[in-house]
Structure formats: C-alpha cells, structure tokens
Symmetry: D2
C-alpha cells in the first residue's frame, strides 16, 4: 500500500518490514534474526542475493546487518562495551584480517549540525596507526600484528565545493587502503529506531543515504576498493512523519485519492526539513564513542 508515495529510509530492515506487513515474501532476499535476551541486543541480517531482490528492496545486492540495542542512548558503559564488541565481531567477518591490513575510515556528514555529526565524531575518537607503523614498523606500536588505520573527515559539499566522493577517491588513490569504512548518520522511517539501531553493510554508502543526501555515494564501483558502510539513524524526514501519522486515515481512500491528498497536504517545505530528538547531542556523543570503540577493538589485534 501507499506504494505510489516514496518513503525514504536508509535501513534495509525497514524496507523489508514493508513487505512483511503485507505478508509478501520477496525472492532474492534472505532474512535471519537473532536475539540475545541477556544483553537485550537484536541482530537482523538481510541478504539481498539477486537483481530482482535488489529492485524490490530499492538497494544493491549485499549484506545488511542491523543491531538493535534499546539502551544505546543511555550512558551505561558496560552495555555500550557489549555493543562495541558486537560491531567488532561483524567487522571481522566482513573483512579478511589476514590479507586486508590497511583501513581508511571516512567520517561522513556535517560537523556543524549535531544530528549529522556522527561520522566526524567517530573518526575523532579512533586510534590512528598507519603513520606510526609506516615510520617505525609494528614495533613502534609495541605489537606483532596490527592493522594500519587512517581516517578522514571530508566535510560536506557546501563547505568544500567538492563531492565527498571526489575527496575520498583522491585519498584512496594515493594511500591505497585495502578497505574503506564509511560512517554516516542515516534517515530512518520510524522515530522508534532513532539512536538505537546500527546498520553495517558491505555495499558501502549509496546515493541518497545519510542526513546530508550524498549524490554519488561511496561504493566499490566508484572507489575500486571494498567499502563497508556503518550507519546510525539519527533523523526522520519531516514528510515521513506526517505521512506515517496519516496512514490509517489514508487507508480509507482509494489510491488516486491518496495521491491527491498527499501532494496537497505534505508541504514541499517539509522535504528540506528533518525530525530529530531533543537529546540528539548526548546520543550522538555516546553512539560515536561506541562505534569508534568497536573499530578500535576490531583492528587492535588480529
């Protein structure tokens, strides 16, 4: 239903729910859920395996891991450490630690807007090792095995005059990392998912993802290197909020009436606005710390 109206979500798990509600099984899409009751962490893996599945889901083939952790926005250090471990565990599965030894972390988003500053904050908290290992070898780090990590905060187009992908492409071509990990603040469809959901995907960052709406995306296709995307939904599009609140009302109308209604009612203004929780400053602070700890854990030792 409501298919004629485009709802924006960056979460595969939400795109999938759409079909679930309507009891439709989509070919080319596999879903596995697990729930750790003790830790209260739910993990859903959505695998899009065919071109048909990709079309139905509106995103590229690949794996989409979603970690849902209700207490992510609460300052409980032990809980956050569990989530960091979970992130590290998934990263170690997506990356071949024996052969992929150098990692470039890209902190996407606009540092000057709290809801969009997750990526820059993650990079700020990372331990960079590439320059030390290059200069002094692994002994410089006091380790026998360790990844070479580097990181960049490219800024947004209004601040740089450049596409983010141009900057990252340039840095990749010179520093030749084995893997790029791009961190971004995402848009969810449901306010319930804000600041408590982490999505990890081996498809990178695709056009239209993120609070800031990257036009080009960061993918293996345009960077010529494996790209992993890690995102947390911190906003919902303002138009989506209105749309969803009205869903029940609209059910009573036929499709033509619905369309007319929505076009009339959802002000074009709303598409340049986002909805975010009033405590977005604290949740972005906790979440960025949890993710950077997850990365630090994943690459500190093999």
């Amino acid at each position: 239903m409501l298919g004629s109206y485009r709802i924006r979500t960056d979460l595969a798990v939400e795109a999938r729910e759409h079909f679930k509600e309507e009891n439709v099984e989509v070919r080319g899409v596999e879903v596995n859920e697990s729930y750790d009751e003790e830790k209260d962490i739910r993990t859903t893996v959505v695998k899009i395996t065919t071109e048909n599945g990709a079309k139905a889901m509106g995103r590229p083939q690949g794996s989409y891991i979603t970690i849902e952790a209700p207490n992510l926005s609460v300052p409980d250090e032990d809980y956050h450490r569990e989530v960091s471990r979970e992130i590290a565990r998934h990263l170690r599965q997506l990356i071949d630690l024996e052969t992929e030894k150098s990692i470039l972390v890209v902190g996407l988003g606009n540092q000057a807007i709290t809801a969009d500053s997750l990526g820059p904050h993650v990079v700020e908290n990372l331990h960079m090792t590439r320059h030390i290992i290059r200069e002094y070898g692994l002994k410089g780090m006091g380790e026998e095995k360790m990844h070479r990590t580097s990181g960049i905060v490219p800024g947004v187009m209004a601040q740089t005059g450049m596409e983010t992908s141009e900057i990252v492409e340039g840095v990749v071509s010179v520093t030749k990392p084995d893997v790029v990990i791009a961190i971004d603040a995402l848009a969810a469809r449901s306010t319930r998912r804000l600041n408590r959901t982490i999505q990890i995907t081996d498809t990178g960052i695709n056009p239209g993802s993120g609070v800031g709406n990257h036009r080009i995306g960061l993918t293996q296709d345009n960077l010529q290197v494996k790209v992993i995307g890690i995102g947390v939904p911190t906003v919902v599009d303002a138009a989506t909020i209105v749309h969803d609140s009205m869903a029940h009302l609209l059910d009573a109308l036929d499709e033509g009436e619905q369309k007319e209604f929505l076009e009339e009612m959802i002000s074009p203004h709303l598409h340049s606005m986002f909805v975010t929780p009033k405590d977005v400053d604290e949740t972005v602070k906790y979440l960025s710390f949890t993710i950077s700890e997850g990365l630090n854990m994943a690459f500190a030792q093999v």
Copy 2:
C-alpha cells in the same frame, strides 16, 4: 476550532493569527503592521494590554515586536545590516538609554545542538565593555557615552544541574545590570516562519519558551530587573507538523472525534522531537551575527 488540542508556538504573531483566521477580534490585544517594501521587511507589533487579552493569547501582557525578513537566511551583508538596524531601533525604544546604562545579555540554549545554539552564538559575537569601563572609565573605550555590556552563556540544566534562572538570578544580584536581554531559539507553529522571523518582547522569556523548554523563565518578576527577550524560531515541534498537515482532514470531524483521532495518531514520541531545516547550521550562523550586530549598534553610542 481545534482549540482542545494545545499547539505550541513561542510567537505572539502566530497566536494572534489563530483568531484572525476565525475572524474573532480579541479585546485587550492591539495589532499594528507595517511593511517596508524597499527593504522587504515586515514589522508587526502586538500589544496585550489587559488580563483578558493575556488569557486569550496565552502569554503575559506586554509588547511583542515581530520582524519578518524573508532573506534572513541568505548571506547578503547589506540586507543583514538593515535588519540589525531595525533590531537596534526597537531596542532603543524599549530601553531608556539615558538612565538604563548597563546591560546583561544572556545567551540561552544548548551550544551542543545546532538548532538551539542561537543564544550562545550571539553572546560570542558581542563587544563586552563593562570590565573596561569599570577599570578605565569611558576614556578606556575612547568614547564619551557608551553602555556597559556584559554577557553570559549559562548552559542548559542537563549540563549544569541548575535551572538557568538560578544562574541568571545570581549573576544579576551581584552585577546589578539595569536591563537583561535574553536571546533564545524559539519554536514556531509554521515551518514558513523558521529562520526568517525575529521576535522582540518586553515580557522576557516565559516558561515553555525556547527549544529547550525552560521551566521557570526569565522575567522582571523573578529577576527584579527589566527583561527583554529576543528570539528566532529555529524549530517546529514534531507533533505540530503532523497536526497542521491534518487540519483539513479534521475539519470534517466533530470535536469529540477530532480529539480521539489526535490522541491516537500523534505518537507520544513526537513530543520529544523537533523539526528543523537541513541548513540550520548556516542560518543560525547568519542570524546570530545579525542580532549581535543589532545589539552592538544599539549600545555603542547613545
């Protein structure tokens, strides 16, 4: 209509529109509008003169000046200077420059949330003179006449453990300014007003104003000194967006049905969320500069 559902707005001009739409004249409320076509600046002065008017409008007796300037979010220096002059002109009318010689500017709001950081940014750009005049006299400033300006950014309760009003009350009791000017980011009802409207009022900051929802407010009553509030709407409550989008639909229902509908539909989640434009970083930057220039102009010379 819709009266049973509380819509939040910090703008008197919006509270007044409500009655205008319904062609109701409210006793105890005077409205004067003027429009400068050349500068494209519209100024509306709402005066609430009786207790009855105050009740109808849901805010205290006093003057509410609203400057609407459509190009406020565009980086045009000349235009911003005009708006700064307009702010200075109104301040000079609200303050008796011959007898009220010392001004404390309070930058309300949360620096860590872009949409709530207007007040802190304004204080950051102000020229403080109180400490220089106290130490060296007016000659220290190279002027014969000049106000003593001071400023503080008190932070928000989650960061300080204190009510903002406690901090301001303390500073006022020791430094004894003649006038307090409190700057705050406001919530509007309509997204069309965001970042292009400035409200100046001699009633101070009242409970429930601002993005951060101050509980106690800053008024002559609790500070024992004249308080002028300057605010710019930078957000709309998420619940308001949904409500307003549905207004037409609801018109068809009777009041009981409406209420049931709204309670069911507007998720309680939404009341802890706000809507803000995607370019909130730039508009807050321009607006805070324009307001601090207005203050600098008003107090630089008598």
Copy 3:
C-alpha cells in the same frame, strides 16, 4: 638567589623547591612525600601552618597536595583510572561527605585557547545530579546516597565583561552549595612539570593563579563557602623560560648586575606570552577526562 626577580609558579611544590635548593628550612611549612613505586605516582603534601610560612611561600595557609604522574600525557586507560582514584581519595579527605552534600564545580579558563581549556572540559564530562535529585529525590538516581553535583563554565573577562568571581559569587548565593571545587589550568616554573602534575588545595584559587591570571580569585573569604582548587600546569611563562635558562650565567654576577641584566634582556613582550607543548590538545583531553572521572568517583557514592 635570584630572589629579587619574581618567578611565577602556581605550584606550592615548586615554591618549596626554591628553599630546598638553598638548604633553608622554612618555619611554618611541613612537607610529606610518598612514592608508590608500582603505580609510579609521587604524592607531596605541603602544609603551610603559620602566617610566617605563608609569607615565605607567597601563598595562603592551607594544604597543597601534588600528585606527580609521569604517564599522565600517555593514553593508558588503566593508569589514568589509578590517578582518578587518587584524586577521589584526596577529595574525600578534604570534604566531609556526611555533612557536605552539595558540590558546585567551576570550570575556569578560556575554552577558546587549548592550553587554558582544562576547566571547561572537566565540567563537560561531569555527571550532574543536582537537578535530578531536586526533582525526583535520590530514587531518581537509583541510589540511596549520592551527592548533588552542579557545574558552571563562567568564561573569561574578555568574553563576559565580568570578573569570574562575580559570576561564581552570584551562583553560589542562589544555589547554596556546601563546597565549591574550582578547576583551572596553571602556570608552572619548570617545563618538566607540564601536563604530569595535579595540585589539589583547600585554599581555593588565588589571585594570579591560572593561565588567564584571575585578578580576584575564588576563596572561602570571598565566596563564604569552602573552596577546593584543582589545577594542572599546562603552560610556563615565556619570561620564566628565559630566566631559568640563564640562571647559571647569572650566578657569576652580583645582585645588582643580575637585576640590570634581567631587566634589559627579558623583553616586556614576553610577559604577555606563554610556552606550551606542541601536543597540548591531547594532554588536555586526557587530563580533563582523568580529573572528571576522579570527581565522578568521589561523589557517586558515599
């Protein structure tokens, strides 16, 4: 020697060294040193017990605890936790936890200058509880016993037009804490002490302390409440560097020649300059975290 030339240090332990070098015992000054070899933390307690001692040492009567921890500028979490514990232990001795239940932490210094931003960073990392306990009682915190903590970053005079002491005095008079803890970046005499020394004193912050040179200070005398000062030296005065480097040379001259020499050589420019390490950003980050953890530990439970 060199007594005719005033060397500035905010560390009691350095003022005391001066006499030690010359093998002079000062009456009214007691010194106790202890060294924890395993943790590599040296603690020196200087007690000034008489007016004579105060005059000789150039600072008020009271206790000055110095914690020297060489690895403070290294990012070793376990080591920092030990130092936080040490800070908490000393605070619990200086404060009567049974009767002094509410604490106001003041983050002194200029946020916009890295070397002077220690105090603001400490307050930023503190858990504030006063507003929660006031609203919901101790149950609101899930604890039976807990201190009420609040905090403020008053800014510096050039930014506020007010003496820091005016702001703090006002806040104290309204919120009536039992104890004020003021955090500040200090000036040391020796570059070797920078960023590895923490001084805790029950004499508060005295005029001339700190990078920013507070004129009035924060003491029990002017605030009417117990004041504990916590400081870390992050800078050395530029004039001091020159003076100390020349000390040997000067030894060969008589006192008159020395004075003439110094006046001629140490450019007045230098007194408006400070010396600070190139990695001041990282050390201030680690140190502020370690101190705020120490405060969180001290007041979380009784």
Copy 4:
C-alpha cells in the same frame, strides 16, 4: 654570527634581516620595500633568483611577499578590509586570472590547537563556488565571470594517520584545480612579528614550515600544480626565545664557547614547545577572517 646554531623562522623577511644586520649583500636575492603611511602597511618583496641565493637564504627560489600591519590584532573592520584588499591585489598578480580559473584552498594545521588553527578557520569562512558552477553554470552564481573555489581541511598526521601531502595530492589528482593556495600558521623568530605579519609566496609550503612541522610540504614539485602559500606567524619556538635573549651575552664568547654554551643551556624539552601570545584566540579569529575576505575578494570577480 651565531651561524652555527640553527634558528628556525618561516619568514623570508627574517632570514634576510640576518644578513642585513651584518651588512652582507647576498647575490641572487632582491629586496623591495614600500610603506603606505596612511594605511600603516609595510610591504616587503624578497625575490630569490638563483640557486646561490636559495642556499644562503635556506629556502627555495621564488617570491616572498610580506605584509606587515601593526594593527592586525585589533578589531578595526576598516583596517582589516584594507589588508584584505592588499592580499587580494597580490594574489591577482601571482595568479593568471584569465587562464587559471579553479582554485583549491587548503587549510593546514590542527584545529584543536588555537595557535595552529588559522588554516582551518580561513577555509571555514570562504565562499565555495565550484559545486554550484559545475551544477548550474555561472548563472547559478548570478555572475558572468567567477572563479571556481573549493577548499579542504586535511587535519594533521596524528589525527589522520596520513601525511597532509598525501591527502592534498589525492584531492588535486581528482579535482584538478589550476592553483592550490595553502594557508598555514607559521613560526617566526621574533615575537614582535607575531599576529601582525602575512607572508604570501609562490613557492608553496616547504618542509619544516608551520607550527605543526609538515615533513613533506606542498609544492609544485610534489603536487604538479602551482602552489601559493599564505602564512601568518602565530608562534615562536621556545628554544629561539631563549637563544635570542642571550644573544648579547654570547657576543662576548668565541664560537666554540658559544656552541658549548647553547647545547648545555637550551633544554631539549624546549624543542617540543612553542611560545604564543595570551590573546591568540582573538588574533587568530581576526586574522583568519581578514585572509578569507582577501581570498573572497580576489576570486569573486575577474
């Protein structure tokens, strides 16, 4: 004299003074001074024209323009506008505005250290136009002629794990600007030059320049594109301060004694420290604004 001891300065005008003091004329070095009395701006152009001159001066062949403006650290808007115009004028001579139409501005330095944050602040205040002209053509800017400007803040090695030159090289190879302008905070030899001197050079940024000591530099040689460097001295090396203060004393010694003396006296600690004025926050704010205005003027119209 003192030639055996390496004094660090990033200013050609200071390197040149050294010879002037000793009344030595250096072949391959041309100097032109002019002084605008009304504006109180002194401009010195040092041209190094031969390999011999380059060796004597310890820096590459090319032009070094120094603008000395004593009131640069004072908040006088009109004065700063004059200096911005002067910067624009020189840039228009160094760049062929008819053929070199796209400019990449690189803001070097560490944002987290006030004295090193000049470059990042300049980029923050620039009007970027490249993305708009690419998307909408010059009409998008409402202009017939205009440069395409883009900008990046690459961060420092400890934060990114990469050489700054690697990042810039990558961005240049993808976005292909005609000219790179690199902005950096410099080290001067004399505290008198701090925050009142601007150096513009067509030799780029050379190894050892800047507060943060870039190892590789940004030059036409390694970037394959014209590189203009703009720098302002904001610090003096701590060792230099000591050295210069002792210069008179040392005059009395022979060269061997001098060397012994200096090695003994200038503590190795000092080489990891810098000296900077106590009002570095305000001067960096004014200076970065003045430089970005100069760039905005130079490229707004041809």
